[in-house]
Structure formats: C-alpha cells, structure tokens
C-alpha cells in the first residue's frame, strides 16, 4: 500500500510497468544497457560482463525479461542470445521508463520500489 502511494505521482501506465516489470537493479541495468545499445545481440555471459553483474543473476533476469516480453531470446547454433524486444509497445514503455529515470525523483521512487519488492521476496523466502 505504502509502495503504491509512493508510485502514485508517476504516470499510471509507467507506474504499472515499474510495479510489474522492474523488480531488481540487475533488470534495470540490463534494460539500460540494451536500450542505449539497441542492436545488441549477445550471450548471457557477455551481457553480464557488459553490466558488471554476476552471470547467475543476469541469466535469471534475462529469462524473466523474456517471459515479461521485454527481451527476445534466439538460439544461434544452440546458444541462447538475447536482444531487446522488437515489439513497439514494449520498446515504447522501456523508453518511457528510462527517459523518466533521468529525473532524480523518479529514480528515487524506482529504487524504493525495488528495495520494497526485495523485502517482500526475502520475507516470502
């Protein structure tokens, strides 16, 4: 409830996107990397290196992001490679999110949301 109030001042579509899809810092980093370098097509290991995050957590997030429609996964000779979704509405939301994050107030809210959602998941675990 408290968290929902915290995201209240943000555009409703964007707030919904943040609540549903942005639940870790690694995920945020991956989106930032792939949005800033939009034609990147790479393996999980390389994406992890490019983000400077552990491979295991990046693999977990990449798989989740594919399920959430943010990324696409293709097999090249049996090796999974990931790229940003070509779906225009997904791209538009990602762009809206990352553009909004240029604003410090929005960034603070997203950080708070991620920390709260981690508390929930730790509590559940």
């Amino acid at each position: 409830m408290e968290e929902e109030r915290f995201l209240e001042s943000i555009d409703p579509e964007l707030a919904e996107f943040i609540k549903a899809k942005i639940n870790s810092f690694t995920r945020w980093d991956i989106l930032k990397l792939l949005y800033s370098n939009p034609h990147t097509v790479d393996t999980a290991e390389r994406i992890a290196r490019q983000c400077g995050r552990p491979v295991e957590s990046v693999i977990r997030e990449l798989e989740g992001m594919v399920r959430d429609g943010l990324l696409e996964m293709h097999l090249v000779a049996g090796i999974p490679v990931y790229s940003l979704s070509k779906n225009p509405s997904a791209r538009q939301l990602i762009e809206k999110f990352l553009e909004a994050c240029r604003n410090r107030q929005v960034r603070v809210r997203v950080v708070y949301h991620i920390l709260k959602s981690r508390e929930v998941s730790f509590g559940e675990g």
Partner: protein, 252 residues
C-alpha cells in the same frame, strides 16, 4: 571496374578509386591510429554520399561509444539508425561467426531486408582469440571471410596491432585472404608523433606504394602527402635520407 569509394580524402586515390565491391579489406594499426574512425567514416560516407546502408559490428566497444565519437565528427549515427540506413550491433565474436554460417542469420536477414552494402567489423582481433592454433585460426578466418563475400558486402575488418611504434610485421593468415591490407602506423619525427598510412596489398589492382601522412581532423580522417626525405618509416623511427641522395634524386 566499379569501385566502392571510401569517400575519405586521399584514401580513394591511394586505392586507385576505392575498394572492389564485395571485397574484404583489412585495416591494421595500434590503438589511436584511426582504425575505428576510418571504419566509421567508410560507413558514414557510404550512407550520406553514396546511398549505401551500412552495418557496424562491435565486439567490445559499446555502440554508445560509436554514437558519441561519430557525433564529434558531425556524423549523426542515431538519426541514421532511425532512418534504417545504419545498424550498430554489439555481439560476441563466436555468435557473429555462427550467425554468418547459418541460413537466415541476423546479418543475412539485415542485408536482405535493409539492403546493407557495407560492413565494418571492429575488431577482428577478438575473433582471432577463438582459435587455439594457427591451423584453426586459418580455417576460422577463411570461413568468416567467405561468409562476408557470400553476402556481397564490402567489408572493412579492423585489426589491433600489438606494437605502438615499428616492430616486425607479422604474417597473419588473414592478410593472405583479404583483398586489401592497409597499415596505420605511428611515426616519430623530430620528437613528434605522426600518423602514417600505407596500402600494403591490393589484390588485382594498382595502388599507391608510398607511405603517407594521416590526420584525424574535426571532420574525420584525411590522407595527406607522402613523407619526404625519410627512410625506415615503418620502423616507427625513420632516419633522414642521406643528404647526397636527397640532392641527387629529390631536390631539383
């Protein structure tokens, strides 16, 4: 025969008009000699001067870096990407190799759908690290070069030179396979570092044999006049040619 112009002042003249269409061309140099700039300029000029869309493939540098560097020369890569004339792809060497080998891979699809004519791969050195010995390297590079030729792309492959000044010129398998081989070098003259360019090889074509000055200006690369009155330029530390030789053959 038709040529693919680089549009780089002075370079097309060294290449007797430009590269051959569908050829694979190697540009080798130490860090900062202008390999990536030459590649970006080849792609940019292809789009804006000759209407040929281009692909830039990077293995290590982030595309963001290319957008920023290109902007410094007044080349708006982001706009060209939006217009579908350019694609800056970051991927792994092994994925690119596998992709080029398969039917309807990402590069092949991009070529078929968008009509890309030029490609720059920056840098091929990363691909070479996939091979554990020279036989494997030769096979890998042979298959890679042929895949590019199959797609009829005019390609520039950049290669990192391990030495800053001079050093022995190695004989890499790739240098035998490519259609042309351009060397970029640092040269020290009078306590100042200059950049030099040499077209070492151009299969089936005449080309300039002299070593020329290269400058990176606010508009990109410019190839200037040849170095006069010096010898041993490729060693990185040239000597003045004997005065008598200069008197006899150069000064009138």
């Amino acid at each position: 025969m038709e040529r693919v112009k680089t549009g780089i002042p002075g370079l097309d003249e060294m290449l007797s008009g430009g590269f051959y269409p569908g050829s694979v061309n190697l540009v080798e140099g130490a860090p900062g000699t202008g390999k990536s700039t030459l590649g970006m300029q080849f792609i940019y000029n292809g789009i804006v001067k000759f209407g040929e869309p281009g692909l830039l493939i990077t293995f290590e540098e982030f595309p963001e870096q290319y957008y920023r560097d290109a902007e410094n020369f007044g080349w708006d890569f982001r706009r060209l990407e939006k217009e579908g004339m350019l694609k800056v792809i970051m991927t792994s060497p092994e994925i690119l190799k596998l992709d080029l080998e398969r039917v309807s891979g990402m590069v092949e699809q991009a070529v078929l759908e968008k009509g890309f004519k030029r490609i720059v791969i920056d840098s091929i050195t990363h691909l070479e690290r996939l091979a554990s010995d020279t036989v494997e390297l030769r096979n890998l590079e042979y298959s890679f070069v042929n895949a590019l030729k199959r797609l009829e792309l005019t390609a520039i492959l950049t290669r990192e030179s391990p030495v800053l000044l001079g050093g022995e010129m190695g004989t890499y398998p790739l240098s035998y396979m490519v259609d042309s081989y351009i060397l970029l070098r640092y040269v020290e003259i009078d306590s100042r570092i200059h950049k030099a360019i040499l077209v070492l090889k151009f299969r089936g074509s005449d080309h300039a044999k002299d070593i020329r000055r290269l400058e990176i200006t606010s508009k990109g690369i410019e190839v200037l006049e040849r170095f006069e009155g010096r010898e041993g330029l490729m060693s990185g530390t040239p000597r003045r040619m004997a005065e008598s030789f200069v008197e006899a053959f150069i000064r009138k």
